[in-house]
């Protein structure tokens, strides 16, 4: 009998914990450790299956005109509708274009998408919370996720995410493909590794936005780099940024430290607040 008690105590000691804390069983979650990069060639874009200039976004007429104006402005030397040139955060869904390497850190309560680009990281809360009633809008939005065991093998394989509460200005890409100014965007994602290739993550992303005539779905892919100890570059957007915005106009900073026009025959900024004799 004493042997039995000792054996049971051993089981309890080995499998249980006196402090009531639960070990985080990583094997219940997919192994997404390491560094991930956008799998598609070419410039970052919302729908990687189409070229950047042929996204065929289902824009409303009003927003089609805004997009056309953005492209025209960029052709003239301006920045169009792309808010990131002054180092504003790209926000969602553009973050998931993955401009710079991505790291995914999974804990039971939160999954972190860490991207060091301009300001591109996300927290996806998986602790069972609901959307808060009042939350300060964020460029990255407020993301709530749920892990799914889609094939019933006892391990999670898919992260379903819904993101709301965004602020702007935001665009889908560098051409300034616009989202609606009302910032009522809702984004749904299904993120999972390819069955045949655990080094490829798929992100089925659907954007619902008032700039669109219907929900717009794209499939993004991220490839895990094979380096065991990858280099994590530090992107400091303000470092060496040659764009400045003054009074809604963008200008260049020349290499020799002077203001320059960004477009042909652009007027200089007003100097009315400076002592006239110093001009």
């Amino acid at each position: 009998m004493r042997s039995l008690i000792v054996a049971i105590a051993l089981v309890a000691a080995l499998l249980g914990r006196s402090d009531g804390a639960q070990a985080f069983d990583e094997s219940k979650y997919p192994d997404w450790k390491g560094q991930w990069r956008r799998a598609e060639a070419g410039p970052p874009r919302y729908d990687p299956s189409k070229p950047l200039r042929e996204q065929q976004a289902p824009l409303t007429e009003e927003y089609r005109a805004i997009y056309a104006a953005s492209i025209a402005d960029q052709l003239a030397g301006g920045q169009g509708n792309d808010p990131t040139y002054t180092c504003l955060a790209p926000g969602m869904p553009r973050i998931m274009n993955v401009y710079d390497p991505l790291e995914i850190v999974i804990t039971p309560e939160t999954t972190y998408f860490l991207i060091q680009h301009i300001h591109d990281s996300r927290r996806i809360f998986t602790d069972g919370r609901n959307f808060p009633e009042e939350v300060e809008p964020l460029f990255a939005g407020y993301s709530i996720g749920k892990w799914i065991d889609s094939d019933g093998d006892g391990r999670y394989d898919t992260l379903e995410v819904e993101t709301r509460n965004m602020r702007g200005p935001r665009a889908f890409d560098g051409l300034g493909l616009p989202l609606h100014r009302d910032n009522q965007t809702v984004i749904k994602e299904r993120i999972y590794a390819e069955k045949a290739d655990p080094n490829m993550i798929i992100n089925e992303i659907t954007t619902i936005d008032n700039a669109l005539t219907r929900p717009w779905t794209a499939t993004k892919k991220y490839r895990r780099v094979s380096t065991e100890q990858p280099v994590w570059p530090e992107a400091a957007c303000a470092e060496g940024n040659v764009h400045v915005e003054i009074g809604g106009q963008n200008y260049f900073l020349s290499a020799d430290g002077f203001l320059m026009p960004a477009r042909k025959d652009q007027a200089p900024p007003s100097l009315k607040y400076f002592d006239q004799s110093q001009r």
Binding site: S27, T86, C87, V105
Partner: protein, 288 residues
């Protein structure tokens, strides 16, 4: 009969342990519980200034930084510029990352994620910092691209032998600049050969108080400079994580070595009395 039960129990144990082994569960009880949101501990009475490096003293001269004469002169230059309305040497005024060691002053809430291979320190202030402290036993790489945050290697220590780690010892090297200790513009050396050693641990008497005993070795200093930074865990179980977008609403612009304000009406303004306007030599039209 008893023996049979005993064998069954032991078999069950073995089976369960094997499954645990395969699963490679991360036993987070081996590590201190650093979850939640951490903010800078309230400064002692009488301490003034925005985020002094040594939290027990006011920023600026009161820090009594052991600066070399050359860097003491640079520091005075920064203070003089700030007194006139300029940004001094504080890189944050240009939306550049504060980097180490200033980032650990914790100007904004901090989150710490602990995994066996890496501890992440996330602070969204000016720059969205993901400081990675590698605890996977790696050695210093032969070549590292310098960064504002530096390259950090850490080691978890069980100082009291209770079978649980309680201290994270960190060494950080491979920096770039410009970096300063604090917003007063107190400079680190331009050679960026800074080495920073830290001991990060929970207070024995208060698990919601985190210490970061930090020693900075830098060529701008006559001796290593040690401080104890303290962080307080907020009570909210689901705290709000603000986004700090430096460029948003940034009223300062920098042209060459000069800084200007952009007024509410969108026009350029001097930051200092008598400041000359920017040179507009590349424009064809005269300014209005």
């Amino acid at each position: 009969m008893l023996n049979r039960i005993l064998i069954s129990v032991m078999t069950l144990t073995a089976a369960l342990l094997m499954s645990v082994g395969v699963a490679a569960a991360f036993d987070d009880a081996q590590y201190p519980n650093l979850k939640g949101q951490w903010i800078r501990e309230r400064a002692p009475a009488g301490v003034t200034g925005q985020g002094p490096f040594d939290p027990t003293k006011s920023w600026g001269h009161a820090q009594q930084a052991p600066l070399t004469p050359e860097y003491k002169a640079k520091f005075e230059e920064s203070l003089a510029d700030q007194a006139e309305g300029g940004p001094g040497f504080w890189p944050g005024a240009r939306c550049l990352p504060p980097g180490m060691p200033a980032m650990m002053t914790n100007f904004r809430p901090m989150e710490i994620i602990v995994k066996p291979e890496t501890t992440w320190i996330l602070i969204d202030h000016i720059h969205e910092t993901h400081r990675r402290i590698f605890t996977d036993g790696r050695r210093w790489p032969e070549w590292v691209e310098p960064t504002f945050d530096g390259y950090s290697i850490g080691q978890w220590i069980d100082t009291d032998g209770d079978g649980r780690y309680d201290v994270l010892e960190v060494e950080t090297r491979h920096f770039k600049g410009p970096r300063t200790f604090e917003p007063s513009g107190m400079p680190l050396h331009d050679d960026n050969k800074t080495v920073i050693k830290e001991r990060i641990y929970l207070d024995k008497a208060d698990p919601n108080l985190l210490h970061d005993e930090m020693t900075v070795v830098d060529s701008a200093l006559t001796k290593p400079w040690s401080v104890d930074k303290k962080f307080r865990r907020v009570k909210e179980a689901r705290p709000y994580w603000p986004e700090d977008i430096c460029a948003e609403g940034q009223a300062m612009i920098h042209v060459g070595k000069e800084t200007y304000w952009v007024a509410g009406d969108g026009h350029l303004m001097p930051v200092k009395k008598g400041q000359a306007p920017p040179d507009l030599r590349y424009f064809k039209q005269p300014p209005k």
